[in-house]
Amino acid sequence: MPVQVFSFYIFDRHSHNTGLSGGGGAYRDSRSAATRAKDDAKLIFGTVFSLRNMVRKLGGDDDAFISYRTAQYKLHYYETPSSLRFAMLTEPGALSMRNVLHQIYINLWVEYVVKNPLSPVEHKNGDGVRNEMFEMGLDKFVRGLM
């Protein structure tokens, strides 16, 4: 079943936005697309962070935040034990994308970024991972969903 994916984010434990793949809506704004994307990434991190803490408080430490939905979009969330956070925005009717995010972590992140000896341990300044293999693989995988 094809699913419309709007955007995808990876945050490390310092909240730096490490990966981003946009798609979907046409952009038209006085701010540049890059600034807009950066602002959105910050808002998404804040949202996800607050909701995750809220869920932990209410549901206990073993509880995990999975997704939320508004009338316009749905945000799917997956967190690895090392506090790497994956967030994906899709159309509101999409089914659970948890396994998709898990696949991205296992098949792309671990394979191309973690196993790359030249890749830094931490991606500072929000420059992204800048890893061609990872970005190509991610792009192909996400476009395969749509």
Binding site: F6, S7, G24, G25, A26, Y27, R28, D29, D40, L43, I44, G46, T47, S50, L51, M54, V55, K57, L58, G59, G60, D62, D63, A64, F65, I66, S67, Y68, R69, T70, A71, Q72, Y73, L75, L89
Partner: protein, 195 residues
């Protein structure tokens, strides 16, 4: 022995776990738990939770990935409408508008962004209903509960009937209405026992 204990535990898990009502300023005005399944927090934590949720809700409404697309569409429609309207009136005063009928169809305004409606976690589900006036109803249920919309509508109905129609209730203040408590309790019990 262990199995029995677990069975007892699942029996205790109620479908509708809790109801929170948050006023338009983000203050908690009603807080009630009906069953187990969530950690018990102290009243201060609940207040913080309500405020946090209020903020997050506002942010989720702003994060609309299609807003530019929708805005551009609306703008184009409006331009077209104004163009055809001024054409048929021969450039007459624009202040007469609102009548409709001339020109093309009125441009349809894009739906206002709604903000968080449903949140899912491994242990529970949170349904949020935002009224026209900005009051938020949060219903915590277990992950299997169906027809939460219906329950939410009924809760809102009870609120309208027994809180808003109570002449002693002050707007935006904590809800202390016995009738509301009683009716709500019996309605939720009905849902939880029907499973």
């Amino acid at each position: 022995m262990r199995l029995e204990l677990e069975e007892e535990k699942t029996e205790k898990l109620k479908a509708v776990i809790a109801l929170l009502i948050i006023n338009k300023a983000g203050g908690l005005i009603y807080n009630r738990t009906f069953g187990e399944g969530l950690n018990q927090l102290n009243s201060n934590d609940y207040l913080v939770l309500a405020g946090t949720f209020h903020g997050v809700h506002a942010i989720t409404a702003r994060l609309n990935p299609l807003r530019e697309h929708q805005a551009a569409h609306y703008y184009a429609q409006q331009q077209q409408y104004q163009h055809s309207a001024s054409g048929s009136l021969g450039g007459a005063s624009s202040s007469g508008g609102g009548g409709g009928g001339q020109g093309g169809p009125l441009p349809s305004r894009p739906e206002p962004p709604s903000g968080l409606e449903v949140m899912e976690t491994e242990n529970f589900r949170l349904q949020c209903f935002n009224t026209q006036t900005g009051t938020k109803f949060l219903l915590f249920t277990d992950t299997m509960q169906a027809n939460v919309d219906v329950a939410m509508r009924k809760v809102y109905e009870l609120y309208a009937d027994y809180v808003m129609k109570n002449p002693f209730y002050q707007l935006e203040m904590p809800v202390r209405c016995d009738m509301f408590d009683r009716k709500l309790n019996s309605y939720i019990r009905e849902i939880n026992n029907s499973r």
